[in-house]
Amino acid sequence: MVLDLLANGLIYSSIIVLGSIGLSLVYSIAGFANFAHGDTMTVGAYSALVTFGAVGGLGGAILGLPFGFFVALAVGIAMAAVVAVVTEKVVYEGLDVGSIGLLITSIGIAFVYRAVIQMGFSSDFTRYDIQALRPIEALLPYGIRVTEHDVAIFVSAVVLVTGLHVLLQYTDLGRKMRAMADNPDLARVSGIRTDRVKLWTWVIGAGLAGAGGVFLGLYGRLAPRMGFDLLLVIFAAVILGGIGSVYGAMLGGVLIGMINQLTPLLSGVGALLPIVPDGWGIGLEYANALAFLIMVVVLLFRPNGIAGDGEGT
């Protein structure tokens, strides 16, 4: 059973990592905690829903997902990026209120995104019109129950994250982004077009969020609240890993996802602890609470997160 939970954890982590990396990127370059990030995921998911409905299967499939789904994925990513860039241009750029003010503004933007989606799609839940699959036969003897869709989610996340790594380390844009994250004023002084880099950061950050949203819809279901409900968990992941560090966000995402899925192991923890009665255990309903508590505990000892950069606000 442990292997199964680990496998589930990997898949759930993939989704969270897509969200947390995007959030961390935006945080380090735009300089504020974007509370609309979860709803950006929702935008991506619903754009993909509409596209997939319009485009259909397009014949052929990889890992159980029709080609049309990948088209929808691309559209979801693009739409999330577009919406984020528009918001940046129209709203955030003109504001002169400091990072706390931007945080509060992003809460307003989150409400706006969610309200518009709810008006367009009603608050009922729905799913992509893709045939559900049975678990992969080869892995069943190990007790691991994953379907090809789950593998697709994991693989896609790996591909996207690797792509980001390549971008950050080996391309010009990536170098500029890292420079801006380190020291924005120095970056501007040395000739980097900071507003252009910022826009690209929004594109990449929101695009990753959109991808995360599409996969979230595949993994679970689509509902207007889906992104916002996940937002706290993503924040916990980013903070756990340390704001300002993309790799920290990755680590945080994996940790939080694993903790969330491994909670069933704690249902009998009373038997292991000395004083606590044997029947006692941490129930599943505390899975999210556990993630938050662990985040707070880590912050007690490392106030800037595990891989945080120690910068002030």
């Binding site: 209120v97 008006m119 505390y286 999210n288 609470a289």
Partner: protein, 392 residues
């Protein structure tokens, strides 16, 4: 210049936003009075709304102490509200799994103590963190509180909630039976349907009196506190914590004090809510309450008590006013997402055009006496005054 002796001077003395707010409030009050007299607004319902507004004002006062005075981004308002409500409910309700039957006044103290303890529990790990970490940690811990309340049925009745909460004035000599003993009043003179003021009305009046007393006490206390040396230190911490630390102040201790004070006031609002509603459940700790209170404080003016009061009333107006949109069937969209959209747009517009809120606190920090005695136009320059020449 006082309002009664020189209204014109008083008016000219106010800043533009203050004039706007005063005019708006007066106009709105007049409208409401008209509505009441003609029967357009039911008196009990009106009092219920006033009670709700008072409750949100209390919550805004509490958040104002934390955010407005000290710059702490606290997103756990709902948790303190809930703890206040549950504290008094578990003490005084008939269906409480822990106690029950304790007089509500004692329940009030129980709620305050619980809120203080929770404030310490949440504050100790989080107040040392940077501002945005505090935001997220506080929201996470608020969720933990809500999840505990929802799941530990032996403690809180879990999802069934606590019912059978007595009114706040139970056990008091006159006030307990005030609603029943007051005669019903029927007003027939005015145009419109007859207005009947019965038990419902007197009960609501009692509730409103209670919340207005609480609001009044908190307002006076906070006004005093804001202008005190303690308040000054908090304001320094808000604008530049390093400077405060350099001046030798233990900023962590001050922040904790502000956090606890704000939490106690929020718990007061929760206590009022429990005795108004006579039923509390885990759904009352929904995080959306936190966001409503934040909008109220920012709208009113961060750091301003009058602003917090104003913001509380505006929030209730938005929440309940959008209900009346249901009557207009021609609006093609659902009302709930519309309300969400409205709140989102208000936040964005506020931050864009008036981030300091409608009534920023600067005016509140000026002692009235200083302004009144100051010469409106100096007769002579500074050198002249210093040389000791006096006015006629």
């Amino acid at each position: 210049m006082s309002l009664v002796s020189d209204p014109k001077g008083y008016w000219a003395d106010l800043t533009r936003p203050e004039q706007g707010v005063l005019a708006f409030v007066l106009g709105f009050a007049l409208l409401l009075l008209l509505g009441l007299l003609t029967g357009g607004i039911g008196p009990s319902y009106f009092l219920f709304l006033v009670g709700l507004a008072g409750m949100y004002s209390l919550l805004s006062f509490g958040l104002n102490v934390q955010w407005g005075y000290s710059g702490l981004i606290n997103f756990s308002v709902a948790a303190f509200f809930g703890i206040g409500a549950y504290g008094t409910a578990l003490a005084s309700a008939s269906s409480s799994p822990l106690a029950g039957g304790i007089p509500p006044v004692v329940g009030l103290f129980v709620a305050l103590v619980l809120a203080g303890v929770l404030a310490l529990l949440i504050g100790i790990p989080t107040l040392r963190l940077r501002a945005d970490y505090l935001a997220i940690a506080s929201i996470g811990l608020a969720e933990v509180v809500r999840i505990i309340i929802l799941n530990e049925g032996w403690l809180t009745n879990g999802s069934a909630g606590v019912r059978g909460i007595p009114g706040f004035f139970e056990g008091w000599p006159v006030l307990e039976t005030f609603p029943e003993t007051m005669p019903g009043v029927i007003i027939t003179a005015l145009p419109g349907p007859t207005i009947v003021l019965g038990t419902n009305f007197w009960q609501a009046l009692l509730n409103v009196a209670l919340v207005l007393t609480l609001v009044g006490i908190c307002y006076l206390v906070l006004r005093r506190v804001h202008r005190s040396p303690w308040g000054r230190v908090l304001r320094t911490i808000r604008s530049d914590e390093d400077a405060a630390r350099a001046l030798g102040k233990n900023t962590y201790s001050y922040k904790m004090q502000a956090f606890v004070l704000g939490s106690l006031i929020m718990a007061l609002a929760g206590v009022f809510y429990a005795h108004l509603n006579l039923y509390v459940g885990p759904g009352d700790l929904n995080p959306i309450t936190t966001f409503y209170v934040w909008v109220a404080v920012i709208l009113g003016g961060s750091g301003s008590n009058r602003g917090a009061l104003f913001g509380g009333f505006v929030i209730v107006a938005i929440q309940q006013g959008t209900r009346f949109l249901n009557e207009f069937g021609w609006i093609p969209v659902d009302v709930a997402p519309l309300r969400l959209l409205l709140i989102g747009v208000i936040i964005v517009l506020l931050m864009r055009f008036r981030p300091q809120g409608v009534l920023p606190p600067q005016r509140e920090l000026i002692w009235r006496g200083v302004v009144d005695d100051a010469p409106s136009q100096p007769e002579r320059g500074v050198r002249g005054s210093k040389a000791g020449e006096s006015d006629d």
